[in-house]
């Protein structure tokens, strides 16, 4: 695990930067993901300080220098493969030491394999479940305990609309994300008395490196821009109210409809 720290002077701001934000110090897990990248840029504009964790040190450094050039006040980084649970303690320790008063944790990592591959190989299947659910539940538990003790803050995680109903085309990925949504639901209830917010973020398909292998051309209209999705996420983080946010918003309605299709019909659908 490698960590670096970098500070830049805050610059003079002449333009009103928008809404009043309670977000100040954010830990991002999976900080080099396509969505996280845009979320972080918007957080920097709101004046947030960041601690970024991701697997590749090189890509983490590139993200860090981008955010600093955009005027970030503080960007700490920690290169660690979060899919490996043995790395969690080290990361958590680093956060406690160098970023002890963080107020928000955003889990933004995930992996999507070709559904056919996870049908053909148990190893691929287990890895997909492990990265998207097991490791996520493990690391969020560390942060949940800490925030519960401090009786403050917010835990947010990016799951997926794919977790709302098992579909032929991506049920392995979907089941892991669905499990994570359920986990967050329970965690929300547990942390509610402590005043800790738990936010479930369910994006539809987003145009990021994770989805590059999918066929964009045939469904281009359904792919959202990361910038737009990030705007919805930051807005939800800023506010006290939403527990679950769909982005773009239309997916809330689409998934409500999808969930109401009777199973006898749904099982015949190939999408």
């Amino acid at each position: 695990m490698n960590t670096t720290s970098s500070q830049a002077d805050s610059s003079q701001v002449r333009i009103a930067s928008g809404t009043q934000s309670t977000l100040k110090k954010v830990v991002v897990l999976g900080a080099t993901s396509g969505i996280a990248l845009e979320v972080q840029r918007q957080l920097v504009r709101l004046g947030c300080k960041l601690l970024l964790a991701a697997r590749s040190e090189q890509r983490l450094e590139a993200v860090q220098s981008d955010l600093l050039a955009r005027g970030a006040k503080q960007v700490l980084t920690c290169a660690a493969d979060l899919a490996a649970i043995e790395n969690h303690a080290g990361l958590f320790d680093f956060v406690r030491r160098s970023f002890p008063d963080y107020d928000t944790v955003l889990l933004a990592y995930g992996a999507m394999h070709d559904q056919k591959d996870s049908e053909a190989s148990i190893d691929v299947l287990l890895e997909e479940l492990h990265v998207n659910y097991v490791s996520a539940a493990a690391i969020l538990t560390l942060f949940a305990d800490d925030l519960e003790r401090r009786r403050t803050g917010c835990i947010a995680a990016i799951t997926s609309v794919a977790g709302d109903r098992g579909r032929r085309a991506n049920y392995v990925y979907g089941s892991a994300k669905g499990a994570l949504s359920l986990f967050l639901q329970g965690l929300r209830s547990r942390l509610h008395p402590a005043g800790v917010k738990v936010l479930t973020i369910k994006p539809g398909p987003v145009e990021t490196p994770m989805t590059d292998h999918l066929d964009h051309l045939s469904s281009a209209a359904h792919f959202a821009e990361p910038k737009r999705v990030a705007r919805d996420i930051v807005r939800a983080l800023e506010r006290r109210s939403p527990d679950v946010v769909y982005t773009p918003k239309m997916w809330r309605y689409v998934m409500t409809a999808v969930e109401h299709i009777p199973e006898t019909i749904f099982k015949r659908l190939s999408f």
Partner: protein
């Protein structure tokens, strides 16, 4: 990038940004485009000098969002902020300050260029200066721009002190333009193209304002949800619009402090404004006519007025005399006119061919970034030295535009 460029077939690729070129200079029909949208990192910024290094897929919107709060603005900006830095360089775009600031390329101090055969090539006035001049205005054909160093310009805040003046003749416009050149950083005119020789329009000029206490909120206008019926924009409605627009602005004559967005990017506030023209879309015609050739310019306006096909977007600007930054840069001393024409098939194309004749005869030129149909002859006349650009083209690159205007020759 090497893994994309190296295995590619000759002439099969073209870098693509936000696709805001009006014609086929950003297309590569039946071949491939390289989307540069993810090359969107800002690599560095020097607070004291205002020099920013960013990747080519960073948009002008992002540069403004990030650096205007720190007191820096784009040195040159086109009429939309929805373009990438790579696109701004590849088309060597100009703005309302061409007479004093030149083109976008004039403010590019250095750039990194991915070439299929030489890897990343750094180009600056000291290192590979010819490749720099070829890449500025090079329509993406010299390789994929990786990053560029751009010198931003200091401003006090987001406000522009703008002034508008109606004019009723070409000489009225020219007088206003000459009178403004030394005193105003930004000048441009809106033209009522139905007025023919009895030209009329509104002259806009402005400077960055020292005002920095007022609260600024970017304007967010409506979005056109679908293509409007094509017949909606016809001679009568557009003529009516133009008259109303002229009267409304002529009565507002005087100065005001306005946000940079409404001054530079009025059309950006209506997202998907292009759908106004219906499913058939529109063609834009942007030419430059040498200043000495006022008759040719009048002839041009005459033909447009007689056709009755002009639209509400007529833009007139006098270019400055600066040396072009790129080998294929469009701006040159003279008057530039940009007009939208709703696409009505053969009659629209015929009008444009007749305008081409005037441009050709006057020694003028057409702007590749706005073009979807110019002939190889007109391209040759517009850019007589294009053959000396050819050696700088990356063998893997080509575009629909380039094949259209050069392959016959």
């Amino acid at each position: 990038m090497a893994s994309i460029l190296r295995p590619a077939v000759e002439g099969s690729l073209l870098p693509y940004g936000l696709g805001r070129s009006y014609g086929d200079s950003c297309l590569n029909v039946n071949r491939e485009l390289i989307s540069c949208r993810r090359l969107n990192r800002i690599l560095g910024f020097d607070e004291s000098s205002g020099m920013v290094r960013c990747e080519s897929g960073v948009t002008l919107t992002e540069i403004i969002e990030v650096f205007l709060p720190k007191g820096w603005f784009l040195p040159v900006t086109p009429g939309t902020q929805f373009v990438t830095v790579g696109g701004a360089i590849a088309n060597d775009v100009h703005g309302k300050n061409h007479h004093c600031a030149g083109t976008f390329g004039d403010h590019v101090h250095q750039l990194g260029l991915h070439r299929s055969n030489d890897g990343l090539v750094v180009c600056s006035p000291n290192e590979n200066p010819d490749m720099l001049r070829a890449t500025i205005g090079g329509l993406g054909l010299t390789g994929v721009i990786a990053w560029a160093d751009i010198q931003l310009r200091r401003v006090e805040g987001p406000w522009i002190e703008a002034e508008l003046t109606p004019f009723q003749s070409l000489s009225g416009f020219l007088d206003l333009s000459r009178d403004s050149d030394g005193r105003f950083e930004y000048t441009v005119a809106w033209l009522d193209c139905f007025a023919g020789r009895n030209l009329r329009g509104i002259f806009f000029r402005g400077n960055h304002s020292a005002e920095n206490t007022k609260k600024f909120r970017p304007k967010r206008g409506p979005k056109l949800p679908f293509a409007l019926p094509g017949w909606l924009l016809n001679r009568t409605t557009v003529k009516g619009f133009n008259t109303l627009y002229y009267r409304a602005h002529a009565s507002k004559k005087g100065s005001a402090v306005v946000g940079y967005d409404s001054f530079f990017y009025p059309l950006d506030s209506i997202r998907q404004w292009n759908l106004l023209y219906g499913k058939q879309g529109f063609l834009q015609y942007q030419c430059v006519i040498p200043e000495s050739n006022v008759e040719a310019f009048e002839e041009l306006l005459d033909r447009i007025a007689r056709s009755g096909m002009g639209s509400f977007l007529g833009v007139l600007k006098q270019f400055g005399a600066a040396q072009p930054a790129g080998m294929l840069s469009f701006p040159r001393p003279g008057l530039t006119l940009a007009l939208d024409f709703a696409m009505r098939g053969e009659s629209t194309l015929q009008l444009m061919r007749s305008l081409d004749d005037v441009v050709l005869g006057s020694g003028g030129a057409l702007y590749p970034a706005k073009d979807a149909r110019m002939s190889p002859e007109l391209f040759e006349a517009s850019f007589p030295r294009w053959r000396s650009f050819v050696p700088y083209i990356d063998p893997k690159m080509s575009s629909s535009f380039w094949r259209r205007v050069t392959e016959a020759q």
